[in-house]
Each structure stands twice: as structure tokens, then as C-alpha cells.
Symmetry: C2
Subunit: 194 residues, 2 copies
């Protein structure tokens, strides 16, 4: 999958491994992330398969860059992948796995975990909104753009933001529900004791 993200990025313009790695901290981070230790070997493999062509570009004072460009074969591969109908990805959610097992820890510990998780998602949401503000400053009203690249990027950003908001709302709801559950249990015990 990483290779398709790389092909899409190189479709815009040739980039080095280092440049690509920085791109994975930008707009694409909403739905894909990659470390340099995964990027460099993948670029080599893709070059061997004829999807990319590499060129060493020396720079007077700075280290020489190895710049990769997409080949016609790479273009065809990317477009063929876009036309496939993929299956649904299976969900892997560590927080929900923990939540499923929270009956094994004290109630306060469960609350602390949920609050911590909510804070992390709130931070990520703020980051996404900052990126959106940035795009708005540069391009004006995003949903009225005439640029297809920006248009699709804005749609993915919207999905990322909606996803974070849903997660945060769930955390808040779960904390309220848990409080109600604890109150109920306490009253139950009081009743039995009294």
C-alpha cells in the first residue's frame, strides 16, 4: 500500500526519500504514515520493478540527493490500483480492546484511560483543524475550489476531522455512562446494606 502513496506523491513531482518522508507529515498524514526506514527500501524495490527512475542530484554544499521520478509503468500501476474495488479493511483498535477488558481494572483507572485517550484525540483534532486553516489561508473557501487535487484533499481532511470528533464524543459519552453505572452500583449496595 505504501507504494501507492509514494506513486501518488511522485505523480505531482520528483522527490527524494527525504522529501517524501516530510510529505508523510503533511496532508497525507490523515490516513497514512511512514517512517524513513520503510521509505528508502521501498523506493529501491520500486526502482528495480521499473515503477520509478532515480537520479543523483549533487548540491554544491549539501549532501547529494537521490531524486525519484514516476515512470509510465508506475503511472499505469497507480491507475490500475485506483480502479480496483477493495474489500473493507478489518478494524484494529487498541483502545477498544482495552475498553473491552476494563472490567478487570478499578473504575478510576478506566476513567483515567478514557480521559487520556480523549486528550490525545483532541490534540490530533486541533492539529487537523490547524492544517485546514492553513489551506483556507492559501486557497480561500475550500469547498468552492476548482482544483481537483485540492478538492479531493479537502474531502479526506473532512473525513479525518469527522473521525476525530466522533471519537472524542464517544469518550465523553463513555465517561458519563460510566459515572451513571458507578452510581447505580453504589445505590444497589446501599440498598442491600440498609
Amino acid at each position: 500500500m505504501l507504494r501507492y502513496a509514494i506513486l501518488e506523491l511522485l505523480h505531482h513531482k520528483p522527490l527524494s526519500g527525504y522529501d517524501l518522508r516530510r510529505r508523510f507529515g503533511g496532508s497525507i498524514v490523515f490516513f497514512w504514515k511512514a517512517n524513513h526506514s520503510q521509505i528508502y527500501p521501498e523506493l529501491k524495490r520500486m526502482e528495480n520493478e521499473g515503477l520509478l527512475s532515480a537520479k543523483r542530484v549533487p548540491h554544491e554544499w549539501r549532501p547529494t540527493k537521490k531524486v525519484y521520478a514516476i515512470t509510465p509503468k508506475g503511472q499505469r500501476d497507480l491507475e490500475a490500483w485506483l480502479r480496483r474495488r477493495p474489500k473493507l479493511q478489518s478494524v484494529k483498535d487498541e483502545m477498544m480492546l482495552r475498553c473491552f477488558a476494563f472490567h478487570l481494572v478499578p473504575a478510576d483507572e478506566a476513567d483515567a484511560q478514557i480521559r487520556h485517550h480523549r486528550d490525545l484525540h483532541e490534540e490530533r483534532l486541533r492539529h487537523y483543524i490547524a492544517i485546514r486553516k492553513d489551506l483556507e489561508r492559501k486557497h480561500g473557501r475550500l469547498l468552492e475550489t476548482a482544483d481537483p487535487i485540492l478538492f479531493w484533499n479537502v474531502l479526506t481532511l473532512r473525513q479525518a476531522i469527522a473521525h476525530e470528533r466522533t471519537y472524542i464524543a464517544w469518550c465523553r459519552w463513555a465517561l458519563r455512562r460510566h459515572q451513571a453505572f458507578r452510581d447505580r452500583m453504589e445505590r444497589g449496595h446501599a440498598h442491600l446494606a440498609g
Copy 2:
């Protein structure tokens, strides 16, 4: 991570690899999935590490089962894991990666992809809601339960359902937005032509 899912399931009662695999088609499927080819080797590893104990249980007519039970060490490991504060998982979303590249395919193909994806999520949502109905039939009003295990399970189910609904709503919104984008582009061209 799989091991903690297994430990949680074995905390309730001892199970064979085959039983565990079926559990991964039940309530836990909302946030974790595992194939038998991953389960069997993992069980062996966990037994070697002293987290589980195995017992061969022969059955008059059916194949002998190898039933695993959680050990005190396994219990401690599970509880220690529950008290850790994990980092946010990085998002990996194939559909959004595709969407990011949809400027490379014809608009109708992009629409077909989004509709297909919406259908898949709608099916998954129906499946989750069927599971919830089942739980309601068995246990009555789920949010008023006094059983901590059921309580936390219901919270994870709610998150799974909210997640699917957000995704479906995004697909519908994206289709509307894309139609508006296409209309705008057409009017733009008409204007230039006229």
C-alpha cells in the same frame, strides 16, 4: 496485541484455538480480527512464555481439542498492559488514500468507488445493529445493565456503530460535494465556450 485479546477471552473461561477463532467472529470483531493461522502459533508462544497452560481434551467421537487456560502470570501480564498509557495509533485508511488520488480517474469511477465503499459500510453497520438487537433480546435494556463485562462490551459496540455511521455520512456528503464540483466545472466550461 493479539495476545491481550486472547488473554481477555481466556480470562472468562478456557478455550481451544478453534473456539477462540470463533470468538473473533463475535463481539470482539468490532475492534479486532484474527485468522486461525495467527492464533495457533501465538497460543504456542504464549504457552512457552508461561502465560497459558494447555490440556489435551479427548472427545469420544470428535477430534481431540487442545484447551488453553490463562495462568496467574498471564493474568498479571494482562492487567499490567491495561494500566499502560498507549500512544495514539497512526491511521491507515486505504479508502482515504484512494480518495486522495481520485483526481487521476474519471469522475464516474470515483463516484462508483465511493458508492461501493458506502455499501460495504452499510452492510457492516447492519451486522453490528443485528448483534446489538441480539444482546438486547438476551439482556434487556443494555445501558441499564449491572454486569460490568456487558457494560464495557456495550460501550465498544456503541463506538463501532458510531464509527460506521460517521463513515457512511461522509460517503453521502462526498457524493453530494462531488456532484456540486462537477456541476461547477461544467458551468465553467459552458461559460468559456459561450
